[in-house]
Symmetry: C2
Subunit: 187 residues, 2 copies
């Protein structure tokens, strides 16, 4: 028994709310780990919409999905997540973000607070009551500026409509990622 790690916690929050047949979003494909996790959750009748601005991330994700023969459950879209609602029109049960840059890739291409916040605003509208948005925030790439700006924005969400939690390890060196999660309580 030990405290849940940040990524495990994000997965737990999504898993306990998502059922087969649901529509979910991976807002930052990256290496495709969350996409694979989501594709398993929604089953054959569900759908994952995955976004990334980097073609490399799309390719990595599709390759990973093909191993488990799950690529038909996922629509990979080479676009910024600020345009999510051009593709996603249905109510969404869960959306996942990893904020920062694609590990092992071009460190100058990172998520940006303005577009991240825009994507969150769109997803808050699409989100079902009881649905969840998870954000794993890395603070290495910009000294924590993006994380601070996103956190400041989320503090302003009305508590009657949304619950927002933050989960982090306090005593780790090397700026470990932390988790923020948003649940829609009512429309």
């Amino acid at each position: 028994m030990s405290f849940q790690r940040v990524l495990e916690y994000a997965h737990k929050l999504v898993e306990e709310r998502t059922n087969q047949g649901d529509i979910v979003v991976d807002a930052t494909l990256g290496n495709g780990n969350d996409t694979l996790f989501l594709a398993k959750l929604v089953g054959d009748s569900g759908r994952v919409y995955g976004f990334d601005v980097q073609r490399e991330a799309i390719a990595k994700t599709i390759a990973k999905l093909k191993i488990d023969n799950l690529d038909s459950r996922v629509e990979c879209i080479e676009a910024s997540h600020e345009y999510i609602d051009k593709w996603v029109k249905e109510p969404v049960t869960a959306a996942m973000f990893n904020l920062g840059y694609l590990p092992g890739s071009d460190k100058s291409i990172t998520t940006k607070p303005q577009t991240t916040i825009k994507a969150i605003e769109i997803l808050l509208k699409l989100l079902k009551v009881g649905g969840v948005i998870t954000l794993v925030l890395y603070i290495g790439h910009d000294g924590g500026a993006e994380a601070a700006e996103v956190e400041k924005y989320l503090q302003t969400l009305p508590q009657k409509k949304y619950a927002v939690i933050k989960y982090r390890f306090l005593n780790q060196v090397h700026n470990p990622p932390f988790l923020i999660a948003i649940e829609k309580i009512r429309e």
Copy 2:
């Protein structure tokens, strides 16, 4: 399904680590709610040591325990938690703190960062590997000064020996309490 509240989370972390027969500590009896919770967990063969500087808290706690006929499992000690090791000599599985003042009581009597930190240091030595200390921090009584000082101290704990997590709601008005929990990873 909704995000766990701070008190629920503290109870969950203690519950999943504590077995019948264990020794546990309620470092701040208050109204006796955590004491009752702990007394149920440890069973007839276990032992709860409860501390409070206020006689009123001791009396309220004993009255609460008597209702469920659990008062024989608890030793209530009218003393500051900075002297825990004068009474507790055995390895401890869990310890719980509520930092602030006793609700509905004299608001000038609150926990203090220096004595809280001293109590934590003692408990870290008594704690079993895999054991947990939970702190629910209220920030109304002093504008958050105690919480900030305790948090700063906990950030310095070596990560090879201890994991320290913080769990809080970001978008609630009126300074809701937040949770810090410490797990001993190794001696």
